[in-house]
């Protein structure tokens, strides 16, 4: 899922976890000390680029303070950073109810659902975030990506154009706009925006995917293969990337590589399905998938 790569980008773009986590509110002394210690430890682990260890620390903090807004928020962000959307969703879902007016939680919830592959639920969460905090660039980009994933390219484009109006050099928005334009059949604009994003970040997953799709339609298959290979290298969980790369190989007569990509695509697809199933099994909102 391309959203996996996007989630990381967002977290990096957002204020660092270490700075965003507030100090725990006053609580009974022994327990507060322990939760605080674990949050401090997680902060330190995160700054030393040991996110999995930080997540483990936060999981321990959750056991001590399962309803703490600070702990849940920190845990969810760290889970997203290690591409674990399902635990993030399970932390964010109660958070969006506990603090229903905090746009950031709905935004993170939407990003987590997008990472998991539940695009419709992601869209709903992001719409709430947009209502609570209008015209936030990251929310507009995430909405654009979600709508692209649902093939609602015209709606995606309008959000992304708004995002770029606010932040013209945003690479995520530029690349996602390229994808929307490609979906709308606006190949020249898609190509221009993809190239613009890639000039800033040559390995960008969505930028390369959009460029690869354009090259496929232009029947420039070798260039499509190269762009799509960069796309799946940046985001190995992208089912669309692997599928399109399989087609590029097939057009180039490389049946073995095409078959290999089909298998990777199918694995990515099953992983998304499994995540969505897991979310639904845990009581999170359902998507529009047919049983």
């Amino acid at each position: 899922m391309r959203a996996a790569a996007f989630g990381v980008a967002l977290l990096l773009a957002a204020p660092a976890f270490a700075q965003t986590v507030k100090k725990p509110a006053a609580r009974p002394e022994a327990r507060a000390e322990s939760v605080k210690a674990l949050l401090d430890l997680a902060r330190s682990q995160s700054s030393r680029r040991a996110p999995q260890a930080a997540l483990d620390s936060l999981a321990r903090a959750r056991k001590l303070a399962p309803n703490s807004e600070d702990v849940l928020s920190a845990y969810a962000q760290m889970a997203l950073a290690v591409h674990a959307p399902v635990p993030a969703i399970l932390a964010l879902e109660p958070l969006t109810r506990m603090a229903a007016s905090v746009g950031q939680y709905h935004y993170l919830y939407g990003v987590a659902l997008m990472q998991a592959g539940d695009l419709e639920a992601a869209g709903e969460a992001l719409q709430k975030a947009e209502r609570l905090e209008p015209s936030r660039v990251l929310t507009l980009i995430a909405l654009g990506l979600t709508l692209n994933g649902r093939k609602l390219h015209a709606e995606a484009k309008s959000h992304l154009v708004r995002g770029l109006d606010l932040e013209p050099d945003n690479v995520e928005a530029t690349a996602a706009l390229a994808e929307a334009e490609e979906g709308l059949g606006e190949e020249a604009a898609a190509e221009a925006h993809a190239l613009r994003a890639l000039a800033r970040e040559p390995g960008h997953a969505t930028g390369n995917l959009a460029l690869g799709m354009v090259r496929m339609k232009q029947e420039r298959y070798a260039e499509a293969r190269d762009a799509l290979a960069r796309a799946v290298a940046a985001d190995p969980s992208s089912a669309k990337g692997h599928y399109q790369l399989s087609l590029a190989y097939a057009r180039l007569g490389d049946a073995a590589s095409a078959q290999e990509q089909v298998q990777l695509y199918q694995r990515a697809l099953r992983e998304v399905e499994e995540r969505v199933r897991l979310i639904h099994g845990q009581g999170a909102p359902g998507d529009g998938m047919r049983p």
Partner: protein
Amino acid sequence: MNRAARLGPLALLLATPAVLAQVAGGVAGKQLFRDVREEAGITFQHHSAPEKKYIVESMAGGVALFDYDGDGRSDIYFVDSLTVESAKDPQAARSALYRNLGGGRFVDVTDKAGIGHPGWGMGVCAADVDGDGAGDLYVTALGGNHFYRNNRNGTFTDLTERAGLAGGGWSTGCGFADYDRDGHLDLFVARYVKLDLDNLPEFGKGKTCEHRGVAVQCGPRGLPGTSDLLFHNDGDGHFTEVGEKAGVSDPRAYFGLGVAWFDYNQDGWPDLYVANDSTPSFLYVNQKDGTFKEVAFPMGVAVSEDGAEQGGMGLAVGDYDNSGRISVFKTNFAEEYNSLFHNDGDHFTDVSFRSKTAAVSMPFVGWGAAFFDYDNDGFLDIIAVNGHVYPQMDQARLGASAGYRQRKLLYRNLGDGTFEEVAARFGPVLMEPRVSRGLAVGDLDDDGRLDVVVNDLDGRPQVLRNELPDAGHWLLVKLEGKGRNTDAIGAVVKVRAGALRQMRVVQSGTSYLSQDDMRRHFGLGAEQQADSVEVLWPDGTTTKLENVKANQLLKIKQR
């Protein structure tokens, strides 16, 4: 050449708003189709359980247009279905054959024909299987299919057992083709889900039995799929099932529905496309040795362009851009978009969004579909009928999906590789929300304008007479093949008229579980004649006629 180019500079001079509206496909309220079912005397009613608690109660409703009595007019056969409650009483459902009397009138001849009770009917395909010049009928069903041989006296005989064509299980789409080119028509049958009526999955119980927060029927995901069948015609009235040997048995047991035989690579051998529900679709390329190779993934027609496995239902194949290649249109589940796969020669490209057919289809669950030139301008348009599988949708959070009853889609071909969805321009007959399934296209009144017949789930059908006043010139081509394949199934007809180059394929089984009129229709626009009509017969021989006058039924017999 696109429409604007064909009109030339004069068109620009005349391009007042009113003229532009006409050229663009009609002004609001202009009559295209009129539902003449009632005045035609068609009283058929399809049956299903109102709540559709089981998937088998949501999927049926094929319709066939074929000339059973050899009078030259297209007759209509509607398939009816049982319900779980009435499953043990085959008389509870009555499929119906209507004889076309001409003059817009039909008469129910089912009882005399003896084809009213094929059990839990699903779909239908037609062909003159025994080569006696009369159209036989194959009806797919849950629990055993039926092969009805036409006795050429208004009656049919059920030869299912003798022919070895029962199949069993839950059969859906079907189609005849001479895949091994031995002169005898073979039969492919898609099958859907393995279902035990005595042990049905309980409504609303389990994760695969809810949709958007409401309890619904279970499946197809979560239920076991089942294999497909290929019956080889042994030439002596008997068929042998060879699906596994031929490589088309679907060992992964995907959920098979729509079937289309067509020679996508133009090597003279019939290939096969199968629309699977909720799983990748199949494209089988004919290996010319009695076997097939499944190539849907490398060919780009297995899944959506995102790699999403779609709920494939109905199929239409046609040369919509007059490129000389046959492309594929596939209807899918809601929020998936209808797929248009353009045939690029050695592969297909998903042009659904580029062609502007996809976005408008997103809310709908699509079923029957056809490429057809409704305005006779020389470019194939598309019709698709819709309707959800869950009546409970009307109580559900709809999201991007439409409710249970849904309107139709009519895509007008703009001649430049794109389409415009124009159903709303032609009044309520296409916009009325219904729960449609099978669709078949043919010229019921031989006026050169294609009519459409739709079988609705649990309701009355529609007989949509094409009354477009300013349709272009036309040709209707009826082929008669030599040997046993008298329908010339698999033949390709090419028509050249002015700048127009068109081709059509003669097919058995198409759309969603349905059968089109096998006469091939060509819109000629302003051309008063076809410069040439060329037939590529299934055996590889050709027939070519030149300077053929427009507006006639042209019968071509293979020598």
